[in-house]
């Protein structure tokens, strides 16, 4: 653990990305616990205040909307929804896909064929089409959006971990384990899983940004998170009408989405190298992210 942290301290881009992500997750988490009332509080007479007026109280720093609600507070509360949906969906998809992928790759046979065909079918449709059908037939709630995102991402994890498993399970050290009498489960858990993890973790880091983009697009179109809940995409949509007079209502939530997505993609780039035992020396030599 300390070794990983030391590696992170060396890579400036990855460090800034990780710090940003931790800060935003913590801030949004705290806001969801303590600031919900504050964020919904309207204040007549101080509607549509422009941002960056630091003489005013903290709540007005990023401006206010037409009802005098604080953009900063709404941003943090909405971020909690956006981030938790993305993180939950990424983790569930990764766990399901990896387990299925390792099983398919290790045991092969009919399970393998079925899983791969299903993955092909899901991957061959544009994700938004799938989303539109799904949302039409079920209610667009947070849970359903997570389910939808998981369904659309599982095939990817399935493919990656299956391909890795196919290759790894033919290696000598797996044979050695088997000779020593290790059970199938143990081989999968102790020999194969650690080798598959780097790729999966890289994809999870990247997916958190990507899934957030999908969720925000759905919410923006009115088929994602529904009011009175908020998310960053929904905030952009509701600020749209007032764009000519109050640009900050659309600007800040979009910026939050973009920054989070950029950070998650930079971090994923670093994880790819740091989590791979065969490539970690690149970072330890101190080349940082330049050496790619």
């Amino acid at each position: 653990m300390t070794r990983i942290l030391k590696l992170l301290l060396r890579d400036r881009v990855a460090l800034v990305s990780a710090l940003y992500l931790v800060c935003i997750v913590v801030a949004c988490g705290l806001a969801a616990l303590f600031l919900v009332q504050e964020a919904a509080a309207m204040k007549f007479g101080s509607g549509r205040l422009a941002p960056f007026d630091f003489a005013r109280p903290v709540r007005d720093w990023l401006g206010t909307d037409q009802l005098g609600r604080s953009v900063l507070y709404m941003l943090l509360v909405a971020g909690a929804t956006s981030l938790s949906i993305a993180i939950c969906a990424a983790i569930i998809a990764a766990a399901t896909g990896t387990v299925l992928g390792i099983a398919a790759g290790y045991f092969g046979g009919i399970v393998d064929t079925l899983a791969m065909r299903l993955a092909d079918v899901i991957l061959s449709f544009p994700s938004l089409l799938l989303a539109i059908l799904f949302v039409y037939l079920f209610e667009p709630s947070a849970t359903n959006i997570i389910i939808l995102l998981v369904i659309s991402r599982v095939p990817l994890y399935l493919r990656i971990s299956r391909a890795e498993t196919l290759e790894i399970s033919r290696r000598l050290f797996v044979d050695a384990s088997r000779m020593l009498g290790a059970s199938n489960l143990r081989i999968c858990r102790r020999d194969i899983l650690p080798m598959v993890m780097p790729n999966v973790l890289t994809l999870v880091a990247l997916d958190i940004g990507l899934l957030m983009l999908i969720e925000s697009a759905l919410s923006f179109l009115g088929i994602g998170i529904q009011p009175p809940s908020t998310s960053w995409g929904l905030m952009v949509a509701s600020g749209r009408e007032l764009m000519g007079t109050a640009w900050w209502l659309t600007f800040f939530p979009g910026l939050a989405i973009s920054l989070t997505a950029v950070a998650s993609s930079f971090l994923s780039n670093w994880v790819r190298i740091a989590a791979d035992p065969a490539q970690r020396w690149r970072l330890e030599l101190g080349q940082g992210s330049e050496g790619r």
Partner: protein
């Protein structure tokens, strides 16, 4: 080649049938299917009559047979809002989307290939970093937000471009640019990668040794070899361009299939949603098969 083509077509048809079966099961699972087709205010008597007329009271396997039979004749039912066949509503909106996607692909390939070539000539230079930066940011900025910011800057503040519609070429600039950035970034990366490896290949060095000018070398000999990964990428990107088209059409009030789908969802017009999904899925499968054919044409190794 023919065998591969046959397999691809079969696979696509299977996927499509699978999609339709899932839609059928889901639409029957969610309770009363007539509520999918009728407005929420419909009375019980109307619902019952509709259910009888559509055969929703028949056994489920019989319903499935009529459903598949209707679909095989491209009969998706009536659009609730417009009181005419859903398919004709969808086909009317189709050309606008097709043109939008086509211009986007042309713009993305031109920009991506140019940027990728320039970046590959001098790895590590300013233009190379610009290309990398474009890829990362374009992949991370939500397209709906980019479109709104584009409107804010170029339409509202500067007044250079119109905000919505599709009547003049100026109307197309913002939508195409917004849609183009993401695919252009990834195309530039792929072109850059394969150009760097090809420019180091013996046959290029031989040509350079014979005194061929660099520009001719890059754009004539090396680029032809870099074309294959780019074609693959265009195929993959088209699906994501279609995703983006839904958003962009909604924002710029483009009368395309994406905007139609979103408004159909919000109006609960199931027949139109279903028709649109099937038409788009068909288009994507056709495109994938065309791309396979192009492979065979560009790369002689695939033909065997």
């Amino acid at each position: 080649m023919l065998r591969m083509l046959r397999r691809r077509i079969l696979e696509s048809v299977l996927s499509l049938v699978f999609l339709l079966v899932v839609v059928f099961i889901l639409s029957r699972l969610t309770g009363d299917p007539s509520s999918l087709y009728l407005p929420e205010t419909a009375s019980d008597a109307v619902r019952e009559e509709f259910a009888r007329a559509k055969g929703f009271n028949l056994p489920i396997w019989q319903q499935f047979l009529t459903y598949m039979g209707d679909l095989s004749r491209f009969d998706f039912g009536e659009s609730l809002r417009q009181q005419r066949p859903a398919l004709s509503v969808v086909l009317e909106a189709y050309p606008a989307t097709l043109r939008l996607v086509m211009w986007t692909i042309i713009a993305a390939v031109t920009t991506g290939v140019l940027l990728g070539c320039l970046a590959s000539l001098r790895p590590g230079s300013l233009i190379d970093r610009l290309a990398v930066g474009l890829t990362v940011t374009a992949a991370s900025i939500p397209d709906f937000w980019l479109a709104l910011m584009g409107i804010l800057v170029f339409a509202i503040t500067l007044g250079w471009l119109p905000t919505s519609g599709m009547s003049t070429p100026a109307h197309w600039i913002l939508p195409v640019v917004v849609l183009m950035l993401r695919p252009a970034g990834s195309i530039a990366q792929v072109v850059r990668g394969s150009m760097i490896s090809i420019l180091g290949a013996p046959f290029i060095r031989a040509a350079r040794g014979r005194g061929l000018p660099v520009r001719r070398l890059v754009f004539l000999h090396a680029l032809r070899n870099a074309a294959i990964p780019v074609i693959t990428l265009v195929g993959v990107q088209t699906a994501s361009i279609l995703n983006g088209a839904v958003v962009v059409e909604t924002i710029f009030a483009f009368p395309g299939i994406g905007r139609l789908m979103i408004s159909a969802i919000l109006d609960r017009d199931f027949a139109v949603v279903q028709a649109a999904v099937v038409v788009i899925a068909l288009a994507i499968f056709t495109l994938n098969i065309i791309i396979d054919l192009i492979y065979g044409w560009v790369d002689p190794r695939v033909r065997t």
